[in-house]
């Protein structure tokens, strides 16, 4: 009875705010190490949400708790309204996981891997084989279908891994560092797949240590460091929060640079002449002030040939937030086994 009411309440709450993932105060320790130290997440359904952080920040541990593989020491999480501990079975029916290590069986062929998953998810043999073949074709793996996956390249293995997660299209997909260790071409293939999935309405939680990847794919980003969410927002908001965009201006007449420098200096900080005799740059806190400064140049009759407002990269964001640079190298070395060509 109580369970029933709890369920109804949970369902009602989910209907009000359609969150795919709702985590509060997740904690997980391994021995003396607090891998995850109070993570809160609110991921709206139908979006690609990035969890960005360096190696060892607690991304994988967080995903493993959300995917019911680890029990949180404290805090709670709901997946589409279902508790990951109390309703673990229910949650497993709503998610699929593409782990950090490619979660395919190396001693089986690509086709056998997919048939196995399809059987486990309830397809009869014939339908399982048909499903496997359709997925292999869609992911460009038909030719390699009969080969053992240990002979696959890193990119092929990743595609098979993602295909295995799509045997039954899940409402929520976890992608844990899907491009770590991949060459640039395979990486862009995986990005295309993620975009296509998102376009179909699947919610994706994307863990990555690549700032560019989060910037390219995610609508919302949580930056994690030392097991905590240290910043959250859209890529643009995160960049804006660092504040220091750079305005670049090129004048039509290099002779007017002195005047321009004086005008810009009245509004913006750190006005610097560029190497090009007609170029200037300045640091500015936001776009509004940059626009006013450029308008003032034009108003003073100084011809502006071109101007641009360069946003800080996510690398700069990370540095500003954590005080240290994101270092992906370590992790790549550790994972070379999973991503060998």
């Amino acid at each position: 009875m109580t369970d029933r009411i709890t369920q109804d309440l949970t369902a009602a709450r989910a209907a009000l705010a359609p969150l795919a993932i709702e985590a509060t105060g997740l904690v997980k320790s391994f021995g003396a190490t607090r891998a995850v130290d109070g993570v809160d997440l609110a991921v709206p359904a139908g979006s690609v949400y990035g969890v960005l952080g360096p190696n060892g920040a607690g991304k994988t541990t967080t995903i493993r708790m959300l995917a019911t593989l680890l029990r949180p020491d404290a805090g709670s999480a709901r997946i589409l309204g279902h508790d990951v501990v109390r309703e673990a079975d229910r949650v497993r029916g709503l998610i699929s996981l593409t782990g950090q290590l490619a979660s395919v069986d190396e001693d089986l062929t690509g086709r056998e891997n997919l048939v196995m998953i399809a059987r486990l998810l309830g397809h009869p043999w014939r339908a399982a084989r048909a499903r496997a073949d359709a997925l292999l074709e869609a992911f460009g793996l038909t030719e390699a279908a009969g080969r053992l996956t240990k002979a696959y390249s890193g990119g092929m293995r990743r595609r098979l891994d993602i295909a295995a997660s799509l045997v039954v299209t899940p409402p929520l997909m976890f992608l844990d560092e899907p491009t770590t260790g991949l060459d640039p071409r395979s990486r862009s293939q995986v990005w295309d797949i993620v975009r296509a999935l998102a376009a179909e309405g699947t919610t994706i939680l994307l863990c990555t240590q690549y700032l560019e990847e989060a910037d390219q794919l995610a609508e919302g980003i949580a930056v994690i460091d030392h097991g905590r969410v240290i910043a959250e927002g859209t890529p643009a908001q995160l960049k804006a929060s660092v504040g220091s965009s750079t305005l670049h201006v090129r004048l039509l007449d290099p002779a007017r640079r002195g005047d321009a420098e004086r005008i810009l200096g009245g509004r913006l900080a750190e006005v610097r002449p560029g190497a090009d005799p007609a170029a200037l740059s300045a640091t500015c806190p936001d776009g509004d002030r940059a626009a006013l400064a450029v308008a003032e140049l034009a108003g003073a009759g100084i011809g502006v040939g071109e101007f641009s407002l360069g946003q800080p990269s996510l690398d700069e964001v990370f540095l500003a937030l954590t005080g240290h640079v994101a270092e992906p190298e370590e992790d790549e070395a550790a994972l070379s086994g999973g991503g060998r060509a």
């Binding site: 001693d107 196995m116 595609r159």
Partner: protein
């Protein structure tokens, strides 16, 4: 045929659209169906990685041939008599050594990350384990059959006939089932597949040799004879020998089944617990 290969096409989004849009999801597999699917996986591995089976069957095959022809005359008076004596012992050795691979396979799964996928699927939780062990039974059967067929080819004709041999094989497999849980536990506790293999073989080698698998214990010093007599593998070999020779001992068979049941009762839940806990 051109040797030049076109690079595999970048998966185009429209294709994905098509595969994603297909049929509504069926209900996930039930406990039995999921277990059988995992057993199927185990069988595929026997086919794709036959080395594992060859590794463990080659040693007993060599032992059978070497021991029979080198020492058979000296130990038992004739090669034929000795073959009748050691074949149940070699059969036991071959099948028990195969059990180590149950642990190796599980450890490999854990280190490769494929278990994460299994554990995140909405299927009966013990299904991967139950299926793996079911698949292993086939592996035991293959390893045992290789030894029996080799023996028959060399002239092994025990008193119990075909049924006696089959009964002995079945008993050895039953014991192996119990023992395999010990190695699945080890497989979940140890770090690397190689460690599981080393520990397994280091435990099984002395256990098989300090038994009555190859020699009558009468000739041993008293203290060693006592150890041999207490070794459960001695009981298994004695029981299997009795069945094959058409002279079964109910008490020996009962001891073997009791040990197998005890191993299962302790180590199957332990394996299951460790597996659920994950790494």
């Amino acid at each position: 045929m051109s040797t030049e290969r076109r690079p595999p096409a970048v998966p185009p989004a429209p294709d994905l659209h098509r595969v994603l849009a297909t049929a509504p999801a069926p209900a996930p597999a039930g406990a039995l169906s999921a277990t059988l699917t995992f057993a199927w996986r185990g069988m595929l591995k026997i086919r794709h990685v036959p080395e594992q089976l060859i590794d463990v069957t080659l040693t007993p095959v060599l032992f059978t041939v070497l021991f029979t022809y080198m020492y058979g005359g000296a130990i038992a008076g004739s090669t034929g008599a000795y073959l009748t004596y050691i074949l149940p012992g070699v059969l036991t050795m071959a099948v028990l050594f195969t059990t180590v691979y149950s642990g190796v396979a599980l450890n490999t799964d854990m280190t490769k990350g494929v278990v994460d996928r299994f554990r995140s699927l909405p299927v009966w939780r013990p299904a991967p384990l139950a299926g793996a062990v079911t698949g292993d039974l086939l592996r035991f059967l293959v390893a045992g059959s290789v030894v029996v067929l080799l023996g028959v080819a060399l002239g092994y004709r025990p008193g119990g006939g075909v049924w006696g041999i089959l009964a002995a094989l079945a008993l050895v497999i039953a014991f192996a089932f119990g023992l395999s849980w010990v190695f699945t536990t080890a497989g979940l506790l140890l770090r690397a597949p190689n460690a599981v293999m080393n520990v397994g073989f280091m435990a099984l080698f002395p256990l098989t040799f300090v038994s009555n698998a190859f020699v009558e214990p009468d000739t041993l010093p008293g203290w060693l004879e006592a150890i041999v007599d207490a070794n459960p593998i001695s009981h298994l070999v004695t029981a299997a020998r009795g069945l094959a020779d058409g002279d079964p001992s109910a008490s020996e068979v009962a001891i073997v089944l009791a040990v197998a049941a005890a191993l299962t009762a302790v180590f199957a839940p332990l394996t299951s617990h460790l597996y659920r806990r994950g790494r």
